[in-house]
Amino acid sequence: MSADKLAPAHLPATSRRLDTNVLEPRWVRYTLIAVALVFLTLFLFVPLAAVFTEALRKGWGVYAEAIVDPDALSAIRLTLIAAAISVPLNLVFGVAAAWAIAKFEFRGKSILLTLIDLPFSISPVIAGLMYVLLFGASGWFGPWLEEHDIKILFAVPGIVLATVFITFPFVARELIPLMQQQGTEEEEAALVLGASGWSTFWRVTIPNIKWGLLYGVILCNARAMGEFGAVSVVSGHIRGETNTMPLHVEILYNEYNFTAAFAVASLLALLALVTLAIKSFIEWRLHQARSASLDAPH
């Protein structure tokens, strides 16, 4: 409410400030905006529009047919399963890692931080290769797995493992700086007042980090559902069994079934758009919270 009242007084001031602060001539400004928009149009907007145009090229009937195809449905199911397992695992890991790193001092913390980021700098193909070397027929655990008739490679567990690896840092990376910034005072106060460790975590820490947590989870989920390289190495490409949505897109595309490939791809593009929308919403909420706390002293 108070922010609403303050806004009219602030707005003219800020817009005037912006005008006087732009030092460069008008033509420079317009040229730069034009260059930026042309670049983004060529590399972002046109590709995004093209996914949907290509998908609907032969009409809604063909589009729907491509999506309800049994192989497509099984790919969608597998993608959902892989994300449903890997996202919660990495969520728990992210919270644990952020708790240890943000709330305590210990030696080797910076090494630990680098190691957590490691999966981001490893090629997805190499991520897949690691699991082939571990669980493949001639791998470390291959013979043992074969004896006990457990299938990891070219089966669902391998796909889940590769996805877990690829999305490993997402939640931790969002939470660590956030929790470091928040410090330990609020938790200490709760504990001193007699709250148990668990209830402090649920009632103090979680409400404080909920937006950062959600942010990490949606990015983690987008990557989990969209991963291609790592999953491609370990999947074995068995149609209707070990194909995720991105792999199904590849198969359809390589069979020159472009419309169907783009139809399935458009679902993934929609997922990307929803992810970006939620991400912007969270950023807007955080911005609001921050400016509210800045306005409070007024």
């Binding site: 907007f45 046109v46 190691l115 700098s121 997805p124 190499i126 699991y131 590849e250």
Partner: protein, 290 residues
């Protein structure tokens, strides 16, 4: 944070130690973190290095320097460098425009900059191929000019530019937002032209962020697979990227060969990771000084 805590710790020695004891869960959270890290990342990663140790040096060297592999390094690293350089220039302009100017649809544009992070790489791959093929929306105009993009090394550059786009924008944006406009105003009021102000005042302050963005985009591009294989054409010696070579060796059950190339790429990524960490420390230092 730390500077605030310091006076307390010198005055009252005991409470300063307390936080470690008051907050519970250190053992279990760190224990689980290390266990999970070892299980998911460290053990699998060590398998790659141990696998190569079964190879002799001569075999290893012959594999990773064979003609076809060398050609793939040239393409992967060359195209990644060009793509990252394109992103430094245009990503820098995009960041500048988003921070400094107002225009309709700015928030929508800002949100969509992250599209390459969110869009699955396979989708990016097929759509860029469709656009840049000789009969595609963009490719047909380029074909008239005699430029072929899809199924050539140029296509690899296009895909890698797409993949690396958000990195430079997102590292430069916060630095520009924090930058002190007063310095630029001072420079202008002292009679510097806007170009001089940009080169002497703005550019030095965003250089660490530009370099960090460049390194991040470059690192991501060298390992990229999904978006590239569709548009590259994958001709041996011409448009075959290094990650694809690893896959084709795996498909021929040449695990040792695939692993040897993977080790070269891993060592390279670790060096790059170190460089990025140093660059980020530099960015923070620059930011803290101003």
């Amino acid at each position: 944070m730390t500077s605030l805590a310091m006076p307390g710790s010198t005055a009252l020695a005991k409470p300063a130690k307390a936080p470690g004891r008051v907050i519970p869960g250190f053992g279990i959270s760190l224990g689980f973190t290390l266990f999970y890290l070892a299980l998911i990342v460290l053990i699998p990663l060590s398998a790659v290095f141990l696998k190569t140790s079964s190879m002799s040096w001569v075999d290893f060297w012959a594999t990773v320097t064979s003609e076809r592999v060398m050609a793939s390094y040239r393409l992967s690293f060359g195209a990644s460098l060009i793509a990252a350089a394109i992103n430094v220039v245009f990503g820098g302009i995009v960041a500048w425009v988003l921070v400094r100017y107002q225009f309709p649809g700015k928030r929508f544009v800002d949100a969509l900059v992250d599209l390459p992070f969110a869009l699955p790489t396979a989708v990016a791959g097929i759509v860029l191929t469709a656009l840049y093929a000789h009969n595609g929306w963009i490719g047909q105009y380029l074909a008239d000019l005699g430029i072929k993009v899809a199924f050539t090394p140029l296509g690899v550059v296009v895909a890698l530019t797409f993949i690396g786009l958000p990195f430079v924008v997102r590292t430069v944006q916060p630095v520009l937002e924090e930058a002190e406009r007063e310095l630029e105003e001072a420079s202008a009021s002292l009679g510097a032209s806007s170009l001089q102000t940009f080169v002497r005042v703005v550019l030095p302050s965003i250089t660490p962020a530009l370099l960090t963005g460049f390194a991040l985009a470059f690192a991501r591009a060298t390992g990229e697979y999904g978006s590239v294989i569709f548009i590259a054409g994958n001709l041996p010696m011409v448009s075959e990227i290094t990650p694809l070579l690893i896959i084709s060796k795996l498909e021929q059950y040449d695990y040792a060969g695939a692993t040897a190339i993977a080790v070269v790429m891993l060592v390279f990524s670790f060096i790059l990771l170190l460089a990025i960490n140093l660059l980020q420390a530099w960015t923070r230092k620059r930011g803290g000084k101003s």
